[in-house]
């Protein structure tokens, strides 16, 4: 994040124009091998990348081609684990649930975060306080949030008491295959929307006020201003929020583990939880590695698609 151009104070702008700035007194060795020096500086990051990211990924890929059984030993099965996964009804269900979940939750969360960001950047009484309250749930660890919501969603819990107050019938929430996934989406949005909202608020605050003033003079309505000024100019933070939110929603685990354990009837069995069960409950590490590889591929495809769509609009 830091650049070498910031140290010179007043003339930093001028220097930025002629980057890369030559070092004050380059050594002979440095002049001959600038790449080596650069590499030395990059080494800690590269080593970390290699050891913490690339090596585990390679191990996962390699392991997913083998099968180790308790009584039979280890053998090479090539794509056997992948083929078996795609034939497994539990995996097929997990895949479907994850896709439905991704398609529903991301637009919902991003839209809500955008609308809230617009709302809380208006000059209204106490909007900063409301804003803080919306962001507050991020400070609660996901596991604790899940436990709190497990009490809210109980048949005799807060949610049903609230419905009762409105004269609505009690709902089964997490105990119904039709409502469980939606209930988890609500809980995740309660945690996540405030966080994504912050990025959008920053983006909206960057839009020069003069644009709005000019539009007002031309008689543009607030609605028109929202769609023709705010929305296009906030597109870059919006793209980041969409991609980051998608990735984080593909990796959802704690609420499922704590609230539903993938049930009822597999209706909340997201891929991440299915991987966990396969690896640590069923003890089938190789197939779980194959599933991890599949999840990474799915994530890459979805993110690539999003980048492509957002770019073509430019």
């Amino acid at each position: 994040m830091t650049t070498p151009t910031t140290r010179a104070g007043a003339d930093s702008r001028a220097r930025r124009a002629v980057r890369p700035a030559p070092p004050a007194r380059p050594t002979r060795r440095g002049r001959r091998h600038p790449a080596l020096i650069a590499l030395a500086f990059l080494a800690p990051a590269l080593i970390a990348l290699l050891v913490l990211r690339l090596a585990p990924a390679a191990v996962a890929l390699w392991d997913s081609l083998f099968r180790t059984s308790l009584l039979g030993g280890t053998q090479f099965v090539a794509l056997g684990n992948y083929l078996e996964l795609f034939g497994n009804p539990d995996f097929q269900n997990a895949l479907l649930v994850t896709l439905v979940f991704t398609i529903l939750i991301n637009p919902l969360q991003v839209a809500t975060a955008f609308l809230l960001a617009v709302l809380y950047t208006r000059k209204a009484a106490g909007s900063k306080i409301w804003r803080s309250l919306v962001i507050l749930p991020i400070a609660v660890p996901p596991a604790v949030s899940a436990v709190i919501w497990s009490v809210i969603y109980r048949p005799d819990g807060l949610a049903n008491a609230f419905l009762d107050l409105l004269g609505l019938p009690a709902q089964p929430f997490l105990t119904s295959p039709q409502q469980a996934l939606a209930s988890i989406m609500v809980l995740l949005s309660w945690i996540g929307v405030g966080y994504w909202m912050m990025f959008l608020i920053a983006g909206i605050n960057d839009i020069p006020r003069s644009y709005y003033e000019a539009a007002s003079l031309d008689g543009a309505s607030a609605w028109r201003q929202l769609w023709t000024i705010t929305f296009p100019l906030v597109r870059r933070p919006l793209a980041f929020v969409l991609v980051a939110d998608t990735v984080s929603n593909l990796l959802v685990f704690a609420p499922v583990q704590i609230l539903t354990k993938g049930g009822p009837e597999g209706s909340t069995n997201l891929l991440m939880y299915d991987i966990f069960t396969r690896a640590y409950t069923l003890g089938d590490l190789n197939t779980a590695q194959a599933e991890v590889v599949i999840l990474v591929l799915i994530t890459l495809v979805i993110v690539a698609l999003q980048f492509r769509l957002l770019r073509s609009e430019d």
Binding site: R67, S69, L70, L71, G72, N88, P89, D90, S150, V151, Y153, R154, P155, D156, G157, P172, F173, L174, T175, S176, P177, K261, G262, G263, P264, E265, T277, Y280, T281, L282, G283, D284, T287
Partner: protein
């Protein structure tokens, strides 16, 4: 130049510290002569085992026990990792009894068959059998458990229902319990019946056993699923109906069940000995203890089992390790010391006889008869969980099925689905 050399030195020093951290201390005591340090791994708080370790070290001054706790959630996977790597820094470890056959099949447990006679004499037959796999004995039972029917006497009185007693001869049936629970609900109590581990095989196995459905695992190699027979279907239909009819609440998870009873919101609660102390201190109404029910015309069956301790095959100090587990399991004084700092029943029969009156005292007048009841259940009605290398996969699939049936899935179809899931998982074992 000076600077870079200093940096280099710092780097070397840092790596040295890291490497030193990785290599385990080499001192594991003198090998094989029953002295030195015994490293003991378990999921409990260190305070729990402090009394038994102190008592053992007092008797064996040349042996030191070094206990390490690994939280229960990570215990099984940590064991798999470390034992799989032939880690000799574990000498003794606690074995969750249903996992014993898997650990033994993997070669992670030392054969203790030469202690069979002493072990048989020291504990109940169910607790002796649970440590057998492939005709050999692989661990010694240290703790045991059972389940009882707790009831809210005030709620029953309000409904005009005469409460059950602690006498096993006057054991209630599930049908009788459900009727009384519904009567209590009609008289104002929120729920009629609740099981503490409401979606767990440990507590639900007896329902099927009582109706002749068996454990769910059969075959010579104990790798044949049998959960679609009449007994299992009938038991699960009954279980599903307790929730469908509102007798029992849906959506109340494992750790939230006991508070429902403590708050006076349920008439009957099936729980363990550990609840006696908890209810004695927290429940403000009149409660009592009765034997766990059975189905009318069926067998009486109650849950059992807890933790055994075994010796790691990779241990370099097996004699001292064996001395320690023999002390905790076979010596009544040692066995009693394992329960000194916690509420659990020692597997050792003699120690249990000394321990149970104290438990009864803890519960006060509410728990009258609990000591005799627990002794009776452990000796006469306990049915252990099945011994199979595939138990872990079986239990996981069954628990998910129980949760679904609780939430309204058709029992017959769901048991069919569980069978397929278990068969798929077991294919990978062979």
């Amino acid at each position: 130049m000076k600077r870079s050399r200093a940096l280099l030195l710092a780097g070397v020093a840092a790596s040295a510290v890291l490497l030193a951290g990785c290599s385990a201390p080499a001192d594991s005591g003198s090998a094989g002569d029953g002295s030195g340090t015994v490293r003991f791994l378990g999921p409990e708080d260190p305070a729990t085992f402090a009394p038994v370790i102190a008592a053992f070290e007092a008797e064996h001054p040349d042996i030191t026990i070094d206990y390490t706790q690994v939280p229960f959630d990570q215990y099984s996977s940590t064991l798999q990792q470390r034992l799989g790597a032939k880690d000799d820094t574990i000498d003794v470890y606690a074995v969750d009894q249903p996992n014993l056959s898997q650990l033994a099949a993997q070669g992670f447990l030392e054969d203790l068959s030469d202690l069979s006679d002493e072990a048989k004499a020291a504990t109940s037959s169910a607790q002796f059998e649970i440590n057998q796999y492939d005709g050999k004995m692989w661990a010694l039972s240290v703790w045991n458990s059972t389940q009882m029917l707790f009831f809210n006497r005030d709620a029953l009185a309000a409904a005009g229902v005469e409460a059950p007693t602690a006498d096993p001869a006057a054991r209630w049936t599930w049908e009788q319990t459900a009727d009384a629970g519904r009567a209590a609900q009609a008289a104002g109590t929120q729920y009629g019946l609740l099981l503490e581990q409401v979606e767990a095989y440990y507590q639900l196995q007896p329902l099927a056993e009582s109706l002749g459905g068996g454990s769910g695992i059969t075959g010579d190699d104990m790798l044949t699923v049998d959960v679609t027979n009449d007994g299992w279907q009938q038991a699960m239909a009954w279980y599903g109906d307790t929730f469908e009819s509102g007798l029992s609440p849906r959506g109340v998870g494992g750790f939230q069940t006991a508070p429902v009873f403590i708050d006076g919101n349920v008439a009957f609660f099936v729980g363990g000995p550990w609840d006696v102390g908890r209810f004695a201190s927290d429940a403000t109404f009149d409660w009592g203890v009765a034997p766990m029910p059975y189905f009318e015309g069926g067998e009486v069956a109650t849950p059992t089992g807890s933790w055994s301790w075994g010796v790691n095959t990779a241990s370099k100090n097996k004699d001292a390790a064996r001395a320690f587990i023999e002390f905790a399991a076979l010596d009544p004084a040692g066995a009693l010391a394992t329960t000194e700092a916690t509420t659990i029943i020692p597997s050792n029969t003699e120690a249990a006889a000394k321990y149970l009156p104290g438990l009864e005292e803890l519960g006060g007048e509410h728990a009258a008869g609990v000591a005799d009841l627990i002794t009776y259940e452990i000796e006469e009605t306990a049915v252990p969980r099945p011994v199979s290398v595939g138990y872990v996969q079986f239990e996981s699939a069954m628990n998910t099925a129980f949760a679904d049936i609780r939430n309204g899935s058709d029992p017959a179809a769901r048991l069919e689905q569980a069978t397929t899931q278990i068969q798929d998982a077991w294919k990978k074992l062979r």
